[in-house]
């Protein structure tokens, strides 16, 4: 520990943390520290609590116990929420009305300025840069409804990136996206990982993120059931499969 060079403080630091809804815990006793630049996949079956865990970091599910520190600040005292970018799992982007790609992405900047101040040139520049990062700069003025599912997912990523967050939380970014778009999407995530963005990705399948993820968490029945590298996770899965096979025999 006392090597002289102290490790950078973790971006996310959970100690015996529990999260839930309406006072009812869904995930409990989570101990977790995520270092800057790590790309973490959160796996688990439906209803395991993986989404509740990550949305807890965003204040969308209730923090019910233990300590939660994000970016070195206790969660409840984190004022500037745009430091955590959020990519929700959604199917519509604008509700019941038309909106352009740029209009959607610009909403990611609103919380960074006071309510009376209109968007300035710097804001428009940030929108353009975010769209460039996800490869949609040429579609800024398109009606979002005309984009494919994968492109819409990238619009949501751009909306999360536009305020320059220090950590990106994504809920199923590759689910329900056709294979060609999934490739582009994976490329975008790889680019973000290379540039050092800390990411927490809830996902069903690791396949689309192969080579990008450097840590895997598995959540099962409200608890962390695995924490390790993708290689260790593969070995862990194989072990479990073998054990299940022996039981059947």
């Amino acid at each position: 520990m006392s090597t002289g060079v102290s490790a950078p403080p973790p971006v996310v630091d959970l100690r015996r943390a529990s999260f839930g809804h309406l006072g009812r815990p869904v995930v409990t006793d989570v101990d977790l520290a995520i270092a800057p630049g790590q790309v973490v996949a959160v796996l688990g079956p439906n209803g395991s609590g993986k989404t509740t865990l990550v949305t807890g970091l965003l204040g969308l599910s209730d923090h019910l116990g233990g300590t939660v520190e994000v970016l070195g600040t206790p969660l409840a005292r984190l004022r500037d929420r745009t430091r955590i970018g959020y990519v929700p799992q959604r199917h519509t982007l604008s509700g019941g009305v038309r909106a352009t790609v740029a209009e959607i992405v610009a909403t990611g900047l609103l919380a960074t300025r006071p309510w009376w101040r209109p968007a300035g040139r710097r804001g428009r520049e940030a929108v353009r840069r975010a769209l460039e990062t996800v490869g949609l700069a040429d579609r800024a003025r398109f009606d979002v409804d005309t984009l494919s599912g994968g492109q819409q997912r990238r619009v949501l990523i751009a909306r999360a990136l536009v305020a320059d967050p220090e950590v990106l939380v994504m809920d199923e970014p590759t689910a329900g996206v056709d294979e060609a778009s999934q490739k582009v999407l994976a490329g975008v995530l790889r680019g973000l990982a290379t540039s050092g963005t800390t990411m927490l990705v809830v996902t069903h399948e690791l396949g689309a993120l192969r080579g990008t993820v450097d840590r895997v968490l598995a959540v099962d029945a409200g608890h962390l059931s695995f924490d390790g590298t993708p290689q260790e996770y593969a070995a862990h899965q194989a072990e479990r499969a073998r054990a299940a096979g022996r039981e059947d025999a």
């Binding site: 038309r98 209009e103 609103l110 490869g135 492109q151």
Partner: protein, 352 residues
């Protein structure tokens, strides 16, 4: 025209119609976005109870209606924020309770004659006084100012409440602001088109505007334009045709909606006929996709096997090989160039 403007009550009526036509669609677009189109209708019901209280206590019905509608609007948002399933029933109780109480109280006080009641339910613009118009104009100015300043925030919250909350926007406060704006709009429009029809002027111009625009910004201005044309045009029509102003305004708005649908689909058909789709491919063009990017006016074409592909809606268009050819519409440009591979299969790619 001048005979109409010579009448004092018609000048008041037209001014009231103008401010209502301006304010109602501006607020209504967020209700359409939240898929709460009928909430204005419910607030209108509750406002009638406020009117009744005003009649009973001999105070100005406009102000008592305003208090009732604003309170109801805030309660609705608080119920919605709690997210209980019983919230829906609570709204029904509040809306119908308000309407029923209003009818009972007004009839009790004024006996069997229901002219006053009908006036509030369906509008009676010719009885709008000068001081009413002054109040409506002031309230409308507040509505317009608040929606213009907060429109991006209201847009963000109405479009994706979860993301807005995660990014730190005050979601509940903004929802309450919208509810109060809706309540104020209901009261401003009460004399002009009536409590039972007011929701129409908030929703229908927006539904029409959606047919004509591809951005939220453009849709907002279209809706305001159509709203003003409906309300002012409706009042003028009702003067010459001797019809009820509220109903006339709403029917005119619906006629404009039908025209917008027609215009929107015509424009789409023309646009479809005028451009050529590239062959379908799963590959998505973008920076670093391996195809050479060529700047072309306000967009980028990608050189794909000697063809120039430009993203358009859910597909790629075939753009002319020489920029000069399609820059000059006289030579046929995009429309007149080789029709190439244009099959029914390509047309199916046009989603709307």
């Amino acid at each position: 025209m001048s005979d109409m403007l010579a009448l004092d009550f018609m000048r008041n009526a037209l001014l009231a119609a103008l401010v209502v036509g301006l304010a109602a669609p501006l607020v209504g677009i967020f209700l359409v976005q939240r898929r709460l189109s009928l909430v204005g209708d419910g607030l209108g019901h509750v406002a009638l109870a406020g009117v009744a209280i005003g009649v009973v206590t001999d105070s100005s019905p406009v102000w008592t209606a305003l208090v009732a509608a604003v309170l109801a609007g805030v309660v609705i948002e608080l119920i919605r924020a709690r997210g209980r399933t019983s919230g829906d029933v609570a709204l029904a109780l509040m809306f119908y309770g308000g309407l029923a109480a209003g009818v009972v109280i007004i009839n009790k006080v004024e006996g069997a004659q229901t002219a006053n009641l009908t006036g509030y339910l369906f509008g009676s613009i010719t009885t709008t006084t000068r001081s009413d118009v002054a109040v409506f104009t002031a309230l409308s100015a507040v509505i317009v100012l608040v929606t213009v300043v907060l429109r991006q925030r209201l847009f963000a919250v109405a479009g994706d409440e979860e993301f807005a909350r995660a990014s730190g926007l005050p979601v509940l406060a903004l929802n309450i602001v919208l509810a109060v704006l809706t309540a104020v709009t209901v009261v401003v429009a009460m004399r002009v088109i009536g409590l039972l029809l007011i929701s129409a002027l908030m929703i229908i111009p927006n539904a029409a505007a959606q047919q004509l625009s591809a951005s939220f910004r453009a849709a907002t201005w279209w809706a305001v334009g159509l709203g003003v044309v409906s309300s002012v045009g409706g009042v003028m029509t009702s003067y010459y045709a001797d019809t009820a102003s509220g109903g006339t305004i709403v029917l005119l708005a619906i006629a404009l909606f039908a025209l917008a649908v027609l215009g929107g689909s015509l424009r789409k058909a023309v646009a479809t006929a005028r451009h050529r789709h590239a062959e379908r491919h799963l590959h998505e063009h973008g920076p670093g996709c391996g195809h050479e990017a060529v700047a072309h006016g306000d967009h980028v074409d990608y050189l794909h096997d000697g063809h120039r592909h430009a993203a358009h809606e859910g597909h790629y268009d075939e753009h002319a090989d020489h920029p000069s050819a399609d820059a000059d519409p006289g030579s046929g440009g995009v429309a007149g160039a080789r029709t190439g591979r244009h099959t029914l299969g390509d047309r199916e790619e046009v989603t709307r």
